[in-house]
């Protein structure tokens, strides 16, 4: 595909030839933001066409982290492929494991034990919190506030400790697997998890005071990168990016999968400024709302985990999975609500142990597609605000 930005050299502004007396002839500038840039969260490369600090056009270039994940899926058995799903959205690996396991289980028609289903929800929600904490911290860093970054990572450490106690890994868990979870949680894990939730819940309000309602932060993010609900839907945005635009759509509530219909929780959406202590400058669909939806989602996740821990039944944690799992002929598509949006797996089986086709719908990929639309006529500093609020993980964009 011919790149519209690269194919045309930077053109002088239309009336550059007619420079009047006392005026300075100016030119547009092409700037390469990334793939090594502190605020592009990995290896995203943005070509910016700028007039000084004003960004006229922004074109994302992706593919620097492409690892043939889908092709690998066609050559590995489902159990072997689980570790590959860890490496898609590596900040929310549990959620990826979950989606793929659900797809395979649906294809095979496998029943998952009750305890495993609860554990899966607990792990997914904990991982959602961990992922949102990174998002919160790095968004603060994008806005120039260093300290929230360390706080976000500090709280995430405790979640990683819990994961480590459950499965031994701190980043790529492969814990939720076909038929349930790989092993039961150790003794005392539930108490430790409760202790963490008790500690963590009040911290969210503290971080709202520190960053979310900080006047400078609000000035930087409110009204920046506004995505209308219609645009958000048209571009296939999901997760906090969609909800930040005021669309009340969450698969856990709208199309309940696993056991999410058993729990009480709310779907936070983008809010208009001026009410309920929301700063005046805020408009629905701006960067502040996308960020703030994540902060509120952490509270909802805490609510879900508390209910899970109360109801957690005893019993086996994994269904009997045959040594060689033959996938029946057929095609399934399962979408779940990951930390960044709807992560979907299309799996086509043809009676072999390996799927004929695996197609992944990465929420970051779809969310990023709106960047050229909103990164127009904004300042360079706003690019960090917009990309940070979309919260992409390049492992999932490039796959």
């Amino acid at each position: 595909m011919v790149d519209p930005v690269l194919s045309s050299p930077p053109e002088p502004l239309a009336d550059a030839d007619r420079v009047g007396p006392g005026e300075i002839r100016t030119e547009e500038m092409l700037i390469n933001m990334g793939p090594q840039h502190p605020s592009t969260h990995g290896v995203l490369r943005l070509m910016l066409r700028t007039d000084g600090e004003l960004v006229l056009e922004c074109t994302p270039h992706i593919g620097y982290l492409h690892r043939c994940a889908e092709k690998l899926g066609e050559n590995l058995t489902p159990v072997q492929f689980i570790p590959i799903t860890d490496r898609l959205d590596y900040l929310a690996a549990m959620n990826n494991n979950h989606a793929y396991s659900l797809a395979i289980e649906k294809l095979v028609g496998m029943e998952v034990p009750e305890r495993a289903r609860y554990l899966r929800v607990i792990m997914c929600e904990l991982n959602r919190i961990a992922s949102h904490l990174v998002s919160f911290g790095s968004y603060g860093l994008d806005m120039g506030a260093f300290t929230p970054f360390l706080y976000g990572f500090r709280e995430r450490e405790y979640i990683l400790d819990l994961f480590e106690q459950a499965c031994g890994a701190r980043l790529t868990y492969s814990y939720l697997s076909i038929g349930g979870v790989t092993q039961d949680i150790p003794d005392g894990w539930v108490e430790r998890c409760t202790r963490f939730l008790d500690y963590f819940e009040p911290k969210i309000d503290e971080y709202n005071d520190l960053l979310s309602f900080n006047q400078i932060f609000v000035k930087r993010t409110a009204g920046v990168g506004v995505i209308s609900a219609a645009d958000a839907i048209a571009y296939g945005l999901t997760g906090p990016c969609l909800r930040g635009s005021g669309v009340k759509w969450d698969l856990r509530k709208c199309v309940p999968y696993e056991i999410y219909d058993r729990f009480e929780f709310d779907i936070p959406v983008g809010l208009a400024g001026g009410s309920d202590g929301i700063p005046r400058e805020v408009v629905v669909g701006d960067s502040w709302n996308r960020y703030f939806v994540r902060m509120q989602e952490m509270k909802q996740s805490v609510r879900i985990i508390r209910q899970c821990l109360e109801q957690l039944p005893a019993g086996p944690v994994r269904a009997k999975v045959p040594r060689v799992l033959k996938l029946p002929a057929g095609e399934v598509y399962v979408e779940t609500e990951g930390a960044r949006g709807q992560i979907g797996f299309l799996v086509v089986g043809d009676g072999q142990a390996v799927p004929r086709r695996v197609k992944i719908r990465g929420p970051s990929f779809c969310n990023l597609s709106i960047a050229p639309l909103v990164c127009r006529q904004v300042l360079v500093a706003d690019i960090a605000a917009i990309i940070g609020s979309i919260d992409v993980v390049m492992g999932e964009v490039d796959r």
Binding site: H37, P38, G52, E53, M143, T147, Y158, R195, K219, L379
Partner: protein
Amino acid sequence: MTRFTAEDALRSRWSPDAKPRAVRAFLAIAVLLAILTALLWVLATRLTGVPYLLSTLATATALLLALCCLGAAVAIQFSHLVGRILLRMAFPIFIVSLVGIILLAWAPSLLYQRVDALRAQSDNPGTPFLAAAEIEAHLTGAPATGRGWAALSAYVLWPLQFRLTRDVLAALGVLGFVSIVGAFGIWWERKVAGRMQSRLGPMRVGGWHGWAQSMADGLKLIQKEDVFLAGADRVLYRLAVYVSWPPAVVLFVALPFSAAWVGRDLDVGLLFVFAMLAVGVLGVLLAGWASNNKWSTLGAMREACQMISYEIPLGFCLLIPVMSAGTLRLTTIGQLQAGGFHTWLAFQNPFLLAAAILFFTATLAECKRAPFDLPEAESELVAGYLTEYSGFRWALFFFAEYAEMFAVAALGVILFFGAWHSPLPAHWGEPWRQGPLWQRALHGVLFGGPLWFVFKGFCLFYVQLWLRWTLPRIRLDQVMHACVQVMLPLAMIALLGNAVWELLVSPGGRLAWIVNVILTAIGLLTLLTTVGIIAYGYLNRRRLVGELAVDHLPGA
């Protein structure tokens, strides 16, 4: 856990017989030098015709070298002990050296007084300078012989009559002080940042809380390759450092640390300091342009935009205390505020207090500190104008930044917060001024002097650090909006108000007194609240961080 100590490092690098060989070598050199000293001494005393000063200097040098070699031999012989003492006692040694440097800086001023007194009692006051022989004659009260301690003292005092010598000494002192401020400031910033983020910050280098971290970093940076980007303007790229760093150091020459402690007491001292602060910006512009990097250029352009928007309100804020003090001479402005907390300029009228706050905000922009750190905004412009700099050039930019930070904090202290005077009411100390030596010394420490000045400067410095690690960054258009549309009108109103105040309100009148009392109360309240919050935070630090964090991070 076993710790890798300095001893391990020494052990691993030295071959087994290296130590005795080094000791033997140093001892041999020491003995040779001692023999040389004795020979020189004999020659100097027995032979006539050899200039006295030359022979004495040679003898003293030889003796000093011999002692150094002896010391080195002892230190190497007992290296395990010396290393341990250095590590354990690092911080006391650091403090003692700091005090020693301050005392060393005191010595020239005492000597200046001595030589000035000698010049005053000279027979013919018309001569601009005294000859060495004349000084000696004055010292002993007898005709000059050219020999003995009096002659040596005369040789030491003689050059101190000249302005040039004094300026060179002052420049050396300033350079030393700025280096300490830079090294200490960077270490302190990292510790403050660490503590605010429930980390520890540097802990290893130097033994005591990583106090030598900045020096280790400096050593590392000196060794790094001097990288030029292809296409960079080599001349301007190099020049940028030399435009940015010297002004930050030179302005300290005009900055009075106390009434007598000033390199050059300029009668336009304030203007000079302000000008030097502004020159530093040119270095940033050059660096950004010469790097041939678009991010650097953007950083430089931001700095240019920022400068034209904050320098004007900053200038207005400086005019306000100048208007009240009636002078640009920094020592005079400082002297005006003697007497205690209530006599500080910031508490004289509301406009001065407003000017103090505006001044502090503008200086944050001046020093490119958060929330105005746009020229080097790391999340937007990679590192802004510093992106392509590395090694020692980068270190010099960094040093300049910290020197400027302290300089503007010190300027704020001189203009608004009582300069080198202590907040204690001066009349408390009156009886001590005539007391015995220890009382006079205590009076000097408690009621004024450079230590207070440095302390207050570092307090404002700390507020800069505090803000940096708390606040997000403002966007460029918001900076300009804040500076031009908010701070500039406010500064103008304060200037106008102060003018009206100076015209209408009599200094000793009732209104002035009431306002002074109210503002002093507000100032005291702010100070006490801040101290209270800090104390509360310190005492409850574990509770504030949270139980889990304490389990996780034992040092937090």
